[in-house]
Amino acid sequence: MKAQSSVQINKEWDIVGARQMGREKAKELGFGSVDQARIATAISELARNIYLYAQRGRIHVEVINDLNKKGLKIIAQDEGPGIADISKVMEDGYSTSGGLGAGLPGVKRLMDEFDILSDKEKGTTISAIKWVRS
């Protein structure tokens, strides 16, 4: 099993490719069907954000093999305009009220760990981990 794979996001169709990649990796790692669906949805959301706000970027999927646990790490990277107010986009009801879907709070809920780094004009890197339930 390859430890890392990635998909370039340039057009809407690429979102499907990213979902597919994440789901397959999740299946291989032994995630149950609910968690597979959650991982795919989280990737979908992150890829869609790239497509909508940064136009281009990448989704990496990485297997984590810790001593006593296994997990899947998603990294969404873009060189878009960056997020000016991270607290705001992490607020419930901020993005969803505009009908944009689950938003970043949704991604955080779907995954176990979540981190976000953003610089104005330099872009945004979001990483999220889901652990395989033992």
Binding site: G32, S33, V34, R38, D92, T96, A102, G106, R109
Partner: protein, 336 residues
């Protein structure tokens, strides 16, 4: 079947029974099961998954098309699950906000509280009820050493928290004026300057200020665009609108307020109110001021406090116990 815990086996057995017998009791238990699962924070996609697993155990040879369709269903539930979690978080947040507001409301009550003074020869009744949690109406009584009464009634255009904040300012401005200077027109002119300097131009405050000279039984008063009150003349048994022209507070720094006088005889009543009383709505219709007076007339023979409470109860009821605006009503009844 004992259904006191959220358990996979329970669900499977329940499903089995229902598929075989299709009886209502299994459905009733399913309902209980759903409630239990919500208490345990089971999300919709997890619930669907329990269903899929149960079905696979009961029917190991389930057609693969059915399996695929159920996985498809599970996938569609993810967003519902997220929305459900978000809703729960927002509900918690709402609870926090509400408790914050009730702290603010009780603080406002302490800040703006006024005690009804005892003035010999004058029976005073006062009631002030906010439409929401915080009151944008304000009334205040001051008694001086010569048994005279200063009385303020004010209304901020608008209601809720901004109105309540503005009212606190009015109260402190009023407190800061020397007590010997209880001339209504001067008080309004001073207050007007305070409001003009400190309050946003789109917020208006109306106020009626009265000074009751108990020795001569004369009410001196001035109004800053406040809802006109009524004077009940006992001798003629009729209500007369208390007319007093004046600009609402805070429009221009140098507004002048004309002062008027009213001599009170035995059983005469001065009725002061805010527009929460006169603009009370029944359905889509505003009530007419004749109706207000008609209601007031039914209770004027009662002691002042009881009368204002009865009038309030009447209007509360015809508005289906849901006030549209803050409601303040004051009766000053001349006893001797």
């Amino acid at each position: 079947m004992e259904l006191n815990k959220f358990d996979f086996n329970n669900y499977r057995d329940l499903l089995d029974r229902y598929i075989l017998k299709q009886d209502e009791s299994a459905l009733y238990q399913a309902e209980q099961f759903t409630k239990l699962s919500m208490q345990n924070n089971i999300l919709p996609e997890e619930f669907i998954n329990i269903h899929i697993q149960a079905l696979k155990e009961l029917y190991p040879d389930l057609p693969k098309e059915i399996c695929a369709s159920l996985n498809f269903l599970l996938e569609t539930m993810i967003s519902y699950g997220l929305a459900y979690q978000e809703f729960q978080t927002l509900r918690e947040k709402q609870g926090e906000l509400e408790s914050e507001i009730s702290v603010a409301a009780s603080m406002q009550q302490t800040l703006l509280s006024t005690t009804k003074p005892e003035i010999s020869g004058l029976d005073i009744g006062a009631i002030s009820v906010p439409a929401n949690r915080m009151n944008g109406d304000y009334h205040h009584f001051v008694k001086d050493e010569s048994n005279n009464l200063g009385i303020a009634i004010a209304d901020v255009i608008g209601k809720g928290i901004p109105a309540a904040l503005a009212m606190s300012m009015i109260k402190y401005a009023l407190d800061s004026f020397p007590e010997s200077q209880l001339s209504p027109s001067v008080i309004l002119e001073n207050l007007n300057r305070v409001v003009e300097r400190n309050v946003d131009t789109n917020m208006f405050i109306t106020m009626f200020y009265g000074f009751f000279d108990s020795k001569n039984s004369v009410l001196q008063y001035a109004s800053a665009g406040h809802e006109p009150g009524f004077y009940y003349c006992a001798k003629e048994d009729k209500f007369i609108e208390i007319k007093a022209k004046g600009l609402v507070l805070g429009v221009t720094p140098d507004a002048i307020y004309e002062q008027f006088e009213l001599k009170l005889e035995k059983d005469d009543i001065v009725i002061l109110l805010t527009d929460g009383v006169t603009e009370c709505r029944i359905g889509e219709r505003f009530i007419e001021s004749e109706e207000v007076l008609h209601v007031i007339r039914q209770y004027i023979h009662l002691p002042a406090q009881e009368a204002v409470e009865k009038v309030f109860k009447y209007f509360e009821r015809i508005q289906d116990f849901h006030l549209r605006d803050d409601f303040t009503l004051i009766f000053l009844k001349k006893e001797v």
